[in-house]
């Protein structure tokens, strides 16, 4: 019972911190932080499925968050019909031939199991498949990218409602995660880490360079929103009334209402994801995962399919990260592949899980709130410290310039310190996982 009270107190403390931000800084800032905390919480639940529950060291979170973001473009953006009519058929043919090639390869690999010319046949399939695919792919891409390149140059999306796109984010991230898991499933920890790290870099490189998909580094902005625009609701009577009664301008009030709408939507998703993972955790599946994590050999001896379970956890975790990535892009209203960086999208999420308490979903959520809060406030704090330091230096001196320019990077130091200190002094995190094995000793 004591631990339960402690959890509640920790969450209440976090809420108090956010309220303090609202009172002393601004409510807008508090809500902005809150929304990003909720999104981070979804991502950290995803990482927790992989690391906390399955014990897999996946440092490719960034790639799956980016895929979630791509899904928002592909599912919810309005379609660019002209580009589709120009390059769509070619693209579809290329897609089908690529798929047929892969299927033929897998089939031939099994069918010609001991034939002498096996590698020649396999090689031939790949070469022919690649040749046909690229014959259709490149002209189609050229046609799509050529169409009104300033404004579009991409295929657009399906024009579906935004929440469907969030689900699409899970789908896309999961679809990519499956072959990745298949490929890396048998690797040892060090190699898995390096491999997933590389995959995430490649995913982002593809998003940056394949302009036909989502305009690459030219970015896509003005993505559809699931909530009304501030400008449209500013004139509404109840907003005006609320604003006067709260002693605020209608402009601030409308922005707060919009942020509250987002917060509501995100909370629903977080609750669903939490419910799903927590149910799985209590189900035989979760028990089996923990057994595998704690003693792989014993689990294998009991007839558990370790690689298969790992694959499931990898796909599930990546899909959840994909949902988080999708919600983030929706909140920003734009998709900017250049903004995906491993520090922000992989390592910070990892710190959230570890600080919160890995293996425990409530911990992952709390960790996300605490770390995102610290991440934002460390920037303010960093600027303040830099200001103090710079005061004593002469105006325009090189040292002063460096300090002022790099104040924002102080927060990386803070994050690293938090991670190391938690690992050292509270290795089980803020909310430790309840392990039933530890009861006896």
């Amino acid at each position: 019972m004591i631990t339960r009270h402690r959890d509640i107190l920790l969450f209440l403390g976090m809420a108090l911190l956010l309220i303090l931000v609202g009172v002393f800084q601004s409510w807008q800032l508090a809500l902005t932080i809150f929304n990003l905390c909720v999104i981070s919480a979804v991502m950290s639940i995803g990482v927790n499925v992989q690391w906390g529950v399955a014990g897999m060291f996946n440092v490719g979170t960034m790639g799956f968050a980016a895929l979630g973001g791509l899904a928002v473009v592909l599912f919810s953006a309005p379609p660019v019909t002209e580009a589709w009519s120009l390059g769509g058929p070619g693209l579809l043919v290329a897609f089908v031939t690529a798929l047929v090639t892969v299927i033929a390869y897998i089939f031939a690999k099994g069918y010609f199991n001991d034939a002498q010319y096996r590698w020649m046949i396999l090689f031939g399939i790949v070469v022919v498949g690649f040749y046909i695919t690229q014959r259709f792919f490149f002209p189609a891409v050229a046609a799509i990218e050529g169409f009104d390149a300033v404004k579009y140059g991409n295929i657009g999306g399906l024009g579906l409602p935004t929440p469907v796109a969030w689900f699409g984010g899970a789908l896309l991230a999961g679809l990519v995660a499956w072959p990745v898991a298949k490929l890396t499933g048998s690797l040892r920890t060090d190699y898995l880490a390096v491999a997933t790290f590389g995959i995430s870099e490649i995913v982002v490189a593809v998003l940056k360079n394949e302009d036909w998909l989502a305009r690459g580094v030219k970015n896509i902005s003005g993505l559809p929103r699931p909530v009304p625009y501030e400008v449209d609701i500013r004139a509404l009577e109840w907003i005006q009334n609320l604003a006067t009664s709260m002693d605020m301008s209608a402009r601030d009030m409308s922005s707060i209402v919009v942020k509250l709408c987002y917060a509501g939507l995100f909370l629903v998703v977080l609750a669903l994801v939490y419910w799903l993972t927590e149910t799985l955790q209590r189900a035989p599946w979760g028990r089996m995962m923990r057994a595998i994590r704690d003693n792989e050999d014993a689990a294998m001896a009991m007839g558990k399919d370790v690689e298969g379970r790992h694959r499931q956890a990898f796909v599930l975790g990546s899909a959840i990260v994909g949902i988080g990535g999708a919600m983030l892009v929706t909140l920003d209203g734009q998709f900017t592949p250049g903004s995906y960086q491993p520090l922000r999208f992989t390592f910070i999420i990892w710190i959230m899980v570890i600080v919160g308490g890995s293996g425990n979903y409530r911990g992952a959520i709390l960790g996300a709130f605490v770390i995102w809060f610290a991440w934002i406030q460390a920037e303010t704090g960093g600027a303040w410290v830099a200001g103090l330091l710079a005061e004593n230096l002469t105006e325009g001196s090189a040292a002063r310039d460096v300090i002022e320019e790099s104040a924002a990077y102080l927060r990386y130091v803070v994050m690293g310190l938090i991670l190391i200190l938690v690992m050292r002094f509270a290795p089980h995190g803020l909310i430790p996982e309840k392990t039933h094995t530890r009861v006896g000793n």
């Binding site: 920890t189 060090d190 390096v194 490649i202 360079n209 390592f347 570890i354 690293g416 190391i420 690992m423």
Partner: protein, 337 residues
Amino acid sequence: MTDILNALVHLTNLMILPGLAYASQLALGAMGVTLIFSVLRFSNFAHAETMSLGTAFCIIVTLWFQQLGISFGFLPTALLALPFAIVLTAIFLILSDRMVYRHFRRRNAKPEIFMILSSGIMLIINGMTRLLVGPKGRIIDDGERFLVTAREFKEWSGLAEALVIKNTVVLTIIIAIFICSVLFWFLKNTETGKSMRAYSDNRDLALLSGVDPERIVFITWILVAVLATLGGVLFGLDKGYRPFVFQQLLLPVFAAAVVGGLGNQVGAIVGAVVIAFSEIGLTFAWKRFFSYLLPADLEPTSMMQILSTEYKFAVSFTILVLVLLFKPSGLMGGSQR
């Protein structure tokens, strides 16, 4: 004949020399990764940042020297500053070991724990380098820039293609070869080197034979400081110093170490050569090379570039995956996956 010579000069100028320099820089990085892996048993995520930190120290000392008016003749001043940078980096690494890793080493923590800790160190260095030299980056190459300029070469050879030899490229290759030889000699012939190898091969047996583990770890970090700082400074001299670019070196350095076989020093060099030349070769525009060799009517119309330069990372990673799939212990044999 001239055509063939032109083609060869073109290739040497734009691919072989830059490739060798890049391979040397990667090899220095990868040898550090593989050294940490074999002695301390984890993949050090902070390694690219360690190279960056060493370079940042070097830049600061260089700037100080330049203010004092000290220079190194036709060689870059940074070379004079190198020993100081190495010492500073070694101090940082040993302090980080004492304050962070040692506690977990004594508890025999799993490699995952060390990897997470190293990512914490990575974040700290990431902020530190920016505080030291600013986020924008600097060019640290002073002294003479070219050993052979384009004009000199053209006048001497009478060819249409020019061979430009940058000082930094020659320096990089010479220093890398020298340091690698010294390291191999050290590991093979000295008492300390032998006990280091014994410790990484079989920890328990080495401990039984009276090897002092803390001393081994201490020396390992010093060697890592030498390798990482050298690799970083040489990369910085060659291509300029930008914190963000150094951050991105992590993947090719890891790839080189894994492709060669984690824990295998020779493998790290082989891996670096494989990664460097595939990255450059696959993103190289082969058009001019073939237009010299092929008859006029067969001249290629496209750039003959296999991949666009932005996919450089994809190259190192794809090789990494292929090696993991088909030769899991790396090309030269290292620790099993």
